[in-house]
């Protein structure tokens, strides 16, 4: 991402999207380290999603960038300018919150125009801009309604319009979809991405929903205990996780006992290449994605280390997830629905593992299917 997308401005002119750089940011709450010397750079016009479990520091990062909290150490640069000590009101950032944050005593139009009013923009221009923003979020007909007359999804769209109306340099989204139901969440997620691309604004999005993160991000930053475990495009985070934490947190993984031998790991008779080639030989737990587990045969008599009994088949649409009891462990396999259609609980099947590079974990946790839900 080397080019600098242009953001639309009120006058129809364009301005260059900015780079955001955080260097060595730390934040402590008493003895708890919320953020530990974080370095993160958002390229101009890029959408980075910070993903992680509760308390990993993702919201703290966003709040430090917004100026709603002060960093203990470190610096923040926006467009090359140090804004570390600038108050929130002077940072020129639009923000959408997890909680509904529209001002209840103002109409939708007044809410969207609020930031412009503070900037002493004339009434006519303010109104025009507010309507433009409402059109952007497909809510021009709701301009004269009050927030309590809108649904949750509509309120968040108005909040997005309000944040964008001031033409901020950076857009910050703090779990804006978490209070919405699944269908609205998916629709609004796509709408946010469309608008972000259209406006071309540098955006930091915080969520604990991995599906959301992988769906809209240019790059996903997986955080844990105040630092970034991995920052990479969604496909890389999913298919080549940098650490076992990322492998287990993003998506589903089967934890299968294995043995490292000469740069490979032997799992139930299958030889799989290692992501970390320099791993010393020894006993490990291999993290195998359900998609890497394939059906060898479902007519086989049922012997060998990867033969087992189907426990359940979950229909997911184009694919189905099959839980298989191997006797000493349970394995998840994600199969095309056409293949899984013939399987029922109690069927005996034989599985195979595709030789994709896998991560291994030294810890000796229980083998089986480890599921990390969004």
């Amino acid at each position: 991402m080397t080019s600098s997308p242009m953001t639309r401005t009120q006058d129809g002119a364009a301005r260059t999207a900015v780079e955001v750089r955080m260097e060595g940011l730390s934040r402590h709450y008493g003895h708890v380290v919320a953020l530990d010397r974080l370095d993160l750079t958002l390229q101009p016009g890029e959408l980075i999603v910070l993903l992680g479990p509760s308390g990993c520091g993702k919201t703290t990062t966003l709040r430090l960038l917004a100026g709603l909290e002060d960093a203990d150490t470190g610096q923040i640069f926006v467009g090359g300018k140090d804004i570390t000590r600038l108050p929130a009101s002077k940072r020129d950032m639009g923000m959408v919150f997890q909680a509904y944050s529209l001002f209840p005593h103002m109409t939708v139009r007044q809410n969207v125009a609020f930031g412009l009013r503070l900037r002493h923009v004339g009434a006519a221009q303010r109104d025009k801009r507010a309507m433009e923003m409402l059109e952007l979020v497909d809510l021009p007909t709701q301009a004269d309604r009050y927030p309590h007359q809108l649904s949750g999804g509509q309120q968040q769209r108005v909040a997005l319009a309000r944040a964008l109306a001031i033409e901020p340099q950076v857009l910050l989204l703090d779990e804006p979809l978490s209070a919405l139901d699944a269908k609205v969440r998916a629709q609004l997620r796509d709408q946010i991405r469309r608008i972000q691309l259209e406006v071309g604004i540098t955006t930091l999005f915080v969520t604990h929903d991995q599906e959301e993160a992988l769906a809209i991000a240019d790059r996903v930053g997986v955080m844990r205990e105040g630092h970034l475990e991995q920052l990479a495009p969604p496909t890389e985070v999913y298919s080549r996780p940098a650490t076992s934490f990322v492998a287990e947190f993003v998506g589903l993984s089967n934890r299968l006992s294995g043995e490292v031998r000469g740069g490979n790991v032997i799992v139930r008779g299958c030889t799989l290449p290692l992501v970390e080639q320099d791993r010393p030989d020894g006993q490990v737990v291999a993290l195998v994605r359900p998609e890497a587990v394939t059906l060898a045969s479902h007519d086989a008599p049922g012997s060998g280390p990867l033969s087992g009994t189907v426990i359940a088949v979950t229909f997911l649409g184009a694919t189905s997830r099959v839980s298989v009891d191997l006797g000493d462990a349970t394995v998840l396999a994600q199969l095309p629905t056409s293949e899984a259609a013939t399987l029922t609980a109690g069927s005996r099947i034989v599985l195979a593992i595709r030789p994709d590079p896998v991560l291994v974990s030294a810890d000796s946790g229980p083998a089986g299917a480890a599921e990390e839900e969004a």
Binding site: A66, G67, L68, P87, A88, S89, K90, R91, D92, M93, G94, M95, F97, A99, Y100, S101, L102, F103, P104, H105, F114, G115, L118, R119, Y146, A159, R162, A163, I166, L172, A182, Q210, E211, L214, G251, L252, T314, L316, R321, E373, A374
Partner: protein, 288 residues
């Protein structure tokens, strides 16, 4: 990623529905209970007021007959060293306005600021605001006596009572405003406003305070009722407000019915004023 499964809503079992006859019977019993309670409490409040009204309309010369003399005597009373009734009403109304204004200016920004920035001070502020509830008026007067001696060197106006009335109104106003503050998400609203470029002053005045309108109105109603009904402190500090004036009239008029007409007049005056304040506030609010 998580599988999206839909869970159907189970239909209500027929046994879960109550027979309509049972519901109707229960509703009827509940309604009867409501009417009985309402009637008992209505009579409890209304009977003494009706008695006061009846006694205020008693003719001074002949018992058991009706007359409006006691009411006329309130308006026509001229006592030595006592201002006319209209002047006392005016002073009391001005006191109510000043007390409400000072109380709001003092309390609203302070409470919002404490909620937003110095939450560790919340308990202390609450304790200080509720303290006047525990101090008897006579103790307050003794304590404030010295201060009022100095105040009276500057002004002898009864309007100076607002200092002590603000203190007296603090507990009630604090409670009303605190309820309003907890009803809105102050932190999120203020952060949203700040991210849009609002200063702290703008956050308080244009974002938080307008959303506390109901709470502010309640605080105003409570403060107004306190000021309109206050007698002890004004009397002990030698000021004449409406209550002191009515007390003087009832004491100095040789007609026992005046005692009742003044009591009822004070009550009706306060009630009407509170009704106006409350109605005006709610009408303005109705739009949103």
């Amino acid at each position: 990623m998580a599988a999206v499964t839909s869970v159907g809503e189970a239909p209500l079992a027929p046994s879960a529905k109550r027979p309509p006859g049972m519901q109707a019977g229960r509703r009827r019993r509940l309604n009867i209970f409501r009417y009985v309670v309402f009637t008992i409490f209505g009579l409890f409040f209304l009977l003494p007021l009706l008695a006061v009204a009846r006694f205020s309309l008693e003719a001074p010369t002949k018992l058991g007959t009706w007359s409006v003399t006691a009411w006329r005597q309130i308006a026509s009373y001229q006592g030595t060293g006592i201002p006319p009734l209209l002047s006392s009403i005016e002073i009391t109304l001005e006191l109510a306005v000043i007390t409400c204004a000072v109380m709001l200016i003092l309390l609203v920004p302070t409470m919002i600021w404490v909620q937003l920035r110095v939450q560790w001070l919340a308990r202390t502020i609450e304790f200080l605001c509720l303290l006047p509830l525990t101090i008897p008026a006579i103790v307050l007067v003794v304590g404030l006596g010295e201060i009022y001696v100095k105040i009276q060197r500057i002004s002898l106006s009864a309007l100076m009572l607002f200092w002590v009335y603000v203190i007296l109104a603090l507990p009630y106003a604090y409670r009303a405003l605190a309820a309003g503050l907890t009803a809105i998400d102050v932190t999120t609203l203020s952060e949203a406003a700040r991210s849009l470029g609002a200063s702290w002053f703008t956050v308080i005045v244009r974002v938080i305070a307008p959303n506390m309108r109901a709470a502010i109105l309640n605080a105003v109603v409570l403060t107004t009722s306190l000021v309109l009904g206050e007698f002890t402190i004004a009397y002990l500090l030698l000021y004449t407000n409406l209550q002191v004036e009515l007390y003087s009239i009832s004491r100095n008029t040789p007609n026992a019915s005046v005692l009742f007409s003044t009591t009822l007049a004070a009550l009706v005056f306060t009630f009407l004023l509170l009704l106006i304040v409350s109605y005006a506030g709610r009408r303005r609010r109705g739009r949103g």
